[in-house]
């Protein structure tokens, strides 16, 4: 009974929103890139970059907002690398993403040690403070849940309808969705498939970077190795769970955020079982809900497939060779 009463506490829901925010931002990023046809396992690396460079930016400028700007740029940069590898070089996207994730891990942990030395002295940077809504925050339940959060939480929530609108009601959204479903058709009407994919990846990187910074700059205000702890992969799972739609993916991350808040609360209750069981909880919740409530779902048709432009150099060469060479034997 004590456990169930947790679910109606305002603190629990406030923590849920706070813990959902990084995942929500990353999952929205995942929706953009997967919808454009890039199978994006690189969310985790971009989040890690955002977490580190957000912290460093905030520390050196002494300004949390500039930290978020640095985070967005660093996330976009690593996604550009992923884009170059999967769009231009056309290597397997899953495997490339494992490479960029490892690069992010190497760059962040090495830079951290190079800046602070091996003693890992913990300097805290300025972080975001909760927005002051005045008397609104005194509303019994909602006040604590909705009106006591940091700005990034509100930004994430606002981005859900905005992403939905962009994806389904604008020209760009149509381009992105079409590129993921049928790049050939998009190419035929004269839209640059590569450009659409690069732009979606940059959006994705910015969102993941913000999500990473939302881990470091909303309370702990510091960094340690692999601080995102695989949240990017949970975001990928959320994208699949939410059937590649911004609203669906957001609801899926809410489920995981609630699982994480729940395990934090359970730890506080002091049960006599190893805490690792609590850590396990959000992952089990995600997996069980994927298996039993969702069923398998098909993503955008062209996801994971590199697109070879019909006018690309290799093909042109082949065509011209076939056309110009006079056939001797008929």
């Amino acid at each position: 009974m004590q456990i169930l009463s947790l679910l109606i506490e305002a603190d629990f829901w406030a923590a849920t929103l706070r813990l959902t925010t990084p995942l929500l931002l990353a999952a929205l990023g995942g929706v953009f890139s997967e919808r454009a046809g890039i199978n994006n396992m690189g969310l985790d690396g971009a989040m890690l970059m955002g977490a580190f460079f957000g912290y460093i930016g905030a520390l050196f400028t002494q300004n949390a907002f500039l930290g978020f700007v640095c985070a967005a740029i660093s996330g976009a940069l690593i996604m550009l690398l992923l884009g170059f590898m999967s769009i231009n070089v056309k290597v397997n996207q899953i495997v490339t993403a494992l490479g960029t994730n490892m690069l992010a891990l190497g760059v962040t942990s090495t830079a951290f040690r190079m800046i602070f030395g091996n003693d890992l002295a913990q300097l805290t940077s300025p972080g975001l403070v909760p927005v002051n809504f005045g008397s609104l925050s005194k509303i019994p339940f909602l006040g604590k849940v909705l009106f006591g959060q940091t700005p990034i939480v509100y930004l994430a929530i606002i981005l859900v309808p905005i992403s939905h609108y962009i994806m389904y009601n604008t020209h760009w959204g149509l381009k992105i969705r079409a590129t993921g479903e049928h790049p050939k058709a998009v190419d035929t009407v004269g839209i640059d498939v590569y450009k659409v994919r690069y732009v979606s990846l940059i959006i994705s990187g910015i969102l993941c970077g913000l999500g990473g910074a939302a881990v470091t700059l909303t309370g702990i205000n510091t960094f340690y190795d692999n601080i995102t702890a695989g949240r990017g992969f949970i975001a990928v799972a959320a994208v699949v769970f939410g059937k590649w739609s911004p609203v669906g993916a957001s609801l899926a991350t809410l489920l995981f955020g609630a699982g994480e808040a729940f395990q934090l609360r359970l730890q506080g209750l002091g049960f006599d079982i190893p805490y690792a069981y609590f850590y396990m909880l959000p992952y089990i919740v995600t997996m069980i809900s994927l298996i039993f409530f969702m069923g398998p779902s098909k993503g955008p048709a062209a996801t994971g497939q590199p697109y070879i432009k019909s006018g690309s150099k290799a093909k042109r060469k082949k065509v011209s060779r076939a056309g110009l060479k006079p056939e001797v034997k008929s």
Binding site: T100, T110, R113, V240
Partner: protein, 365 residues
């Protein structure tokens, strides 16, 4: 014999070797810029890595101990990737394998070594294989994405093992979260007097040969490669793609379980919390660097083992953070992928050479 075929194999082997060496060179060049930026001498850093990793027998022994779990897990991963199923779950499978091998290893069964040791190893392999069976079944029967499932199972598996070490597997009356020591009858024998090198590395070498033979010389291996390169065509030509995928995943999980088992039974001798962090993910890069070829994986694992052990020496002597190895490793993976796609087409090079020679001859006449 079909000499044409043999030439081709030598050619691909050669182009793999050249592109791997090129990737390593690119990684070293980029990391030397990082080192120069920090005011450290890159040549000194690399020579320290070399000395610390392969300088003498003791150092090389330590590198091989490092390489052993990577090699075993990467062999399995490469096998699954060959079949076109992305097993990212080696991490969880290693932990489960280690846990069950330890469990058998600490049971006072009163068995002689010749039974107890294989029993512990096989239990570990079975545990790894069963953990791999879950995503394999979900993919084949229900169509779930194996990448996401294996990643989720990694977290669940690692936390499960950690929880077990904290509770029922913890050593009796012990304070630390660790199991009691594995019995003498269940430990892998040591290979060298003044080093920790254990027989696990032999398991890796034997495993590589077995997997190579399976892949290249058996019907099952042929089927597996077909399913991996073109699932649709192999299905229509009457192969059982689903069964092949499950079998590949089971083998993959068994090897990851073996990696965990040999790490505990050969090197650590008891199970700790987080006893081998990130090995499962590192093994993926080893598998890729080895071009998914069992023999290549063995070489790649030893290379990464040397790199890791040597980097520790570098950190101690020069104060360069050991994590720079991650950057080197990541750049190597990305370059290997890129160079594989821009295929270093030696065959065309040879052909052109032959053509040039022919045309010269023709001009002369």
């Amino acid at each position: 014999m079909n000499t044409q075929f043999d030439y081709k194999r030598i050619e691909t082997g050669l182009s793999y070797l050249i592109s791997s060496l090129l990737s390593i060179a690119v990684a070293l060049i980029i990391s030397s810029f990082i080192l120069l930026g920090q005011g450290k001498d890159p040549l000194q850093a690399f020579s320290l890595i070399f000395q610390g990793g392969i300088g003498d027998m003791a150092a090389f022994g330590a590198s091989l101990v490092r390489a052993c779990p990577l090699m075993l897990a990467a062999l399995g991963i490469a096998f699954a990737f060959k079949a076109g199923i992305y097993n990212i779950g080696a991490e969880g499978q290693i932990y489960l394998g280690a846990m069950f091998a330890t469990w058998v290893g600490i049971l006072p069964l009163g068995l002689p070594k010749i039974i107890h040791l294989p029993l512990a190893i096989l239990t570990g392999m079975a545990a790894g294989a069963s953990w791999a069976f879950i995503p394999a079944y979900l993919k084949v029967k229900k169509g779930f994405n194996e990448v996401i499932m294996t990643i989720l199972l990694n977290y669940i598996g690692v936390y499960f093992v950690n929880a077990s070490v904290h509770s029922y597997l913890q050593e009796p009356n012990g304070y630390y979260p660790q199991t009691s020591k594995v019995l003498e009858t269940a430990t892998l024998p040591k290979l060298m007097a003044n080093s920790e090198l254990h027989a696990g590395i032999l398991l890796g070498l034997i495993g590589a040969v077995i997997l190579y033979v399976i892949l290249q010389k058996t019907d099952f291996g042929y089927q597996l490669r077909c399913v991996g390169s073109n699932p649709e065509a192999s299905r229509t030509s009457g192969m059982n793609a689903k069964l092949t995928l499950i079998a590949a995943m089971l083998v993959s999980g068994a090897f990851a379980g073996l990696a965990g088992a040999s790490e505990v039974l050969g090197y650590q001798h008891l199970l700790l919390e987080n006893f081998s962090p990130n090995t499962g993910y590192d093994a993926i890069s080893v598998a890729l660097l080895g071009r998914l070829n069992p023999i290549g994986v063995v070489i790649a694992a030893i290379f990464i083992g040397v790199l890791r052990t040597g980097a520790n020496t570098m950190q101690i002597m020069m104060g360069v953070p050991v994590t720079i190895v991650y950057i080197i490793q990541a750049i190597i993976i990305l370059c290997v992928l890129a160079f594989t796609n821009w295929k270093l087409d030696l065959s065309r090079f040879f052909e052109r050479g032959a053509k040039d020679a022919n045309s010269k001859l023709a001009n002369r006449s």
